[in-house]
Symmetry: C2
Subunit: 107 residues, 2 copies
DNA sequence: TGTTTATTTGGCAATATCGACAAATATCTT
DNA sequence: AAGATATTTGTCGATATTGCCAAATAAACA
């Protein structure tokens, strides 16, 4: 595997890593409905504000969301709605795995 | 956020985590072309066999790939080709971020 | 049966991620 | 300027991930 190929997959992995956390997936889901400020998301998630802010910064630096400062508040919005298309596939993986587990139990 | 919602996003995150590593993304890419045995993938990746085997086991337990034992060798194949559809979106995130960086440099 | 080859698994050190607290920063208000 | 509110950042302990080596397992074959 040459350096260029390696760089490509590393760049992709960086985005995937940003998506690989339940809280961040929730944030994406919520931002797909409407933009939200940190305090609103913190309220919904029920973690420390600093924790939520860190998750937002991970998503932002991956280029998935963008921020919009309004006075004291910072509103975040989904910059790459195409990520949502993926969840159908993820869901099918989950379902298929679950179905398989069931089959194994039947015996 | 209730327990059910939380479980949904945790299940999704588990799949995303499996996809969040450059070597595993390479494996998926390679398996999308044709099925491969561990030794072939090891050769291409240039890591220890045990390392490659571990990556394969992560992908398998997430339900993304499946194995097919043939004598001493184990061939792996892509069970969820829909994951490939996502990379177009990932690519657009990468490009868009890169473009933005360029704009910043122009000033 | 003993040997060879392919793969998996146990264990360990290095590194990365996570979540919370405290402190810093920024904006608005008085 | 001082206070209040929203957010970010520094730090740290806990936990998870990664990659390699060595050892275990499994199948094919002499």
């Amino acid at each position: 595997m040459n350096a260029k190929t390696k760089a490509l997959f590393e760049a992709r992995a960086k985005i995937m890593k940003a998506l690989a956390h339940p809280t961040r997936l929730f944030i994406i889901h919520e931002l797909s409905r409407k933009q939200r400020c940190v305090c609103e998301l913190t309220e919904m998630i029920g973690a420390d504000t600093s924790t939520v802010s860190r998750h937002l910064s991970v998503l932002k630096s991956a280029g998935i969301i963008a921020d919009d400062k309004r006075g004291v508040q910072v509103y975040y919005n989904l910059r790459m709605p195409c990520v949502l298309n993926f969840f159908g596939c993820v869901e099918s993986v989950i379902k298929s795995t679950a179905r398989e587990q069931m089959e194994l139990l039947k015996r």
